[in-house]
Amino acid sequence: MDAFRALDFLDIESQLGEDERMVRDAVRTWVGERFVPIVWEHFEAGTFPMEVRPELGELGVFGPTIPEEYGGAGLNSVAYGLICQELERGDSGLRSFVSVQGSLVMYPIFAYGSEEQKREWLPQLASGEAIGCFGLTEPDFGSNPGGMLTTARRDGDDWILNGRKMWITNGTCSQVAVVWARTEDGVRGFLVREGAEGFSAPEQKHKWSLRASITSELVLEDVRVPESDRLPKAEGLKGPLGCLTQARYGIAWGALGAAMSAFDEALQYAGERIVFDKPLAGFQLAQKKFADMATEITLGQLAALRLGRLKDEGKMSPSHVSLCKRNNVQKSLEITRTCRDMLGANGISLEYQTGRHMCNLESVSTYEGTHDIHTLAIGHELTGIPAYR
C-alpha cells in the first residue's frame, strides 16, 4: 500500500489556517511513521504501546488547547480537532488515550480545579509523565449517570469515597483518577491518586473493540481523599457533562480519521485487486460505494470544521456536538463496514487497517453518549420535550 492519502474532495484544506495545517501534518507524520507500523500487534495483544507516551508528550498532543503557562500549546479548537482526526487515523485507542488525558482529565482540572491543583497536575499531564483517567460510568449507570451509586461522605477535612466505576479508559495505568461521586449536595469531582488506600483499578480484559487501549474498573473502598483534592468549581452533573462535551467534540473529528483511513485503504486496494479480469474499482457496484462514502466523509468534514469554528467563536452548544458526534461516528462505522467488505478476506486481517477501525468504532459509537442518547439530545433541542424517560 502507498502512503496514506487523506480524502479532501471539496478542498477543505483551503479553509484551514497555515498553523492548523502544520499541526495536522505534524501529527499525521508522527502517526504514520511511529504508530501505524506498531499498532496492529498491540491490538492483537490487547495492549497500549506505552513507549509512545513520552513522544506524544513531546509532540504536544496532551491538552494542546490549554494555555502555555500550564504546559499546553494554546492551540485553537480546529487544530485540536485535526489532531484527533489524525490520531484516530492511527487507531481509536490512540485517540481515546489522548482524548481522556486532554478532555476528561486536564480539562476538568483546568476548568474546575484550584490553582494548586492546576500547578501540580497540568504540566506533568501535558508532558505525559503522569496519565489520568475519568471515572463516571458505573456497572448499572452508563447513559444515565445521574443515577450513580458511588458516594463521597464528609469526614472532618477529608472525604470517604465508596463505589465502583466500569469501562474506564486508562484506569490501570493512571496516576490520577477524576472520580465523580454523589455527596449530600449533589455530584462532585475528586482527584483520586494512584496507590490511595482502598483504591484499585483492575483491567477489564477480553474486549474485541478498542483492544489497543486499556479499559479498567475502578474500585473504591473507604478511600480517603483530602478536601484539597476535590475539584472546587465542579457542582452537580454539569461538571462531568462539561468534560464530555469537550471529548465528544474531539470524537466528531476523530471518527472521520478512522473512516478516511479505511476509505483510502479500500480505494487503493480496489484499484489493484483484479476480480473477473479487471480492477474491483472498475465495477459500478464498487464505484457507488466509493461515491457514497466520499460524500459522507466530505459532509462529515464540513460539519466538523463548522463545529470547530463555532467552538472557537464560543458559540458551540452541546446539541451541536451531539449532532456531529452522532452523525460522524455512525457514518464512519458504516463506511468502515463497507470498506471491510470490499477488502474481502484481507478485510479481517490485522495487516490491514480497516478491520481494526471497524471494531473500534463500535466502542466509539457507544461511549461519550450512545448514538441513541445523542438522538434524544437533538430531539430534545428541536422539540423542547425531553424523552429520556
Binding site: D19, M22, A26, W30, E55, L59, P64, A73
Partner: protein, 250 residues
C-alpha cells in the same frame, strides 16, 4: 555561531509526476509540497549545532511565497528565523544561478556555517552545496554522515563509495548532509505555535538568469510487465536462460 540552513520546497515524494502542456515543466495542479528530505537533515544538524555551541539558525530558501508553510515547519523544529527569497521561477532556476543568489545572501547574513541537503529530491543535482562553497571560497564537505564543530574548525565523516573519508576543515564551511547524519525531530505543537511569533521575512530574489534551461521533460518509459517463468526448482533452467539470453545480465 551564525548558522544558515538552506532548504528547498519540493513536490511530495509520492507525487505522480505529470508533464505540463508546455513540455518543459511539471504540471503543478494538485501537487503537494514538502521540505526536501535531505534539507530536513540539514535543518536538524543546524539546530543541534546551535543547541551545543550557541548561536542562531536562519532558514533560507529560494522559492515561491507559498513556501511559508515549509519554512515555518523548519522554524518550529528549532530555527530562529526564516528568509524566503521570493522567486516564482524557482522550479526552473538552474544550480548556478541558485548558488550565486544564495552565496550573496549568506555573505550578507554574515554566516559562519551553512548546512544544505546533499541534493534536492526534485532534481537530484547535488550541485548547489559545493557550488555555494566555491563561490564563497569556503571549505566544503559533501555526503556528511558525522560532523563535529569546534572553535574555528571542525571534523566530518563523509560517505564515499565503499568506505568513509575523515575530514578536518576550517570555518566558515558548507556541510552537505547525507541521510545517516541524524534523525530529524518532529515539529512539536508548541514549536509550531512558537514559530508563529518568530520572524519569517520575504525579500525579492536578486539573481542572474539561468544559463541551463530545461527544453523538454519526459517521463521514463513505462516498465514492461514482469513475467513469471515458472515456479520452484523446475523454473531454474528457464530463469537462467532468460537472464543469460534475453536480459543478458549474466
Amino acid at each position: 555561531m551564525n548558522i544558515v540552513a538552506c532548504i528547498k520546497r519540493v513536490p511530495l515524494t509520492e507525487t505522480q509526476a505529470k508533464v505540463s502542456a508546455d513540455g518543459t515543466s511539471l504540471d503543478a495542479t494538485g501537487v503537494e509540497y514538502m521540505t526536501s528530505f535531505y534539507d530536513e537533515i540539514a535543518v536538524e544538524e543546524a539546530v543541534r549545532t546551535k543547541e551545543k555551541s550557541g548561536g542562531e539558525v536562519t532558514i533560507l530558501t529560494i522559492g515561491s511565497a507559498g513556501s511559508s508553510k515549509e519554512m515555518r515547519e523548519c522554524i518550529a523544529k528549532g530555527g530562529d528565523k526564516g528568509l524566503i527569497l521570493v522567486d516564482e521561477d524557482w522550479m526552473a532556476r538552474d544550480c548556478r544561478s541558485t548558488a550565486k543568489a544564495l552565496a550573496a545572501k549568506i555573505r550578507e547574513l554574515g554566516a559562519d556555517l551553512v548546512f544544505t541537503g546533499r541534493l534536492a529530491t526534485d532534481r537530484d543535482n547535488a550541485a548547489v552545496g559545493p557550488m555555494l562553497a566555491t563561490l564563497l571560497d569556503w571549505a566544503c564537505v559533501t555526503d556528511v554522515i558525522e560532523v563535529e564543530i569546534g572553535d574555528g574548525k571542525g571534523t566530518a565523516v563523509r560517505e564515499s563509495e565503499g568506505g568513509v573519508e575523515n575530514y578536518e576543515f576550517t570555518l566558515p564551511a558548507v556541510i552537505c548532509c547525507q541521510k545517516d547524519l541524524n534523525e530529524p525531530r518532529y515539529a512539536g505543537l508548541k514549536g509550531i505555535m512558537a514559530a508563529k511569533k518568530k520572524p519569517l521575512d520575504e525579500a525579492p530574489l536578486e539573481a542572474e538568469a539561468s544559463q541551463a534551461e530545461v527544453v523538454r521533460l519526459e517521463l521514463p518509459p513505462a516498465r514492461p510487465e514482469g513475467r513469471i517463468v515458472g515456479e520452484g526448482p523446475d523454473a531454474v533452467d528457464a530463469l537462467m536462460d532468460a537472464l543469460r539470453n534475453e536480459a543478458k545480465v549474466l
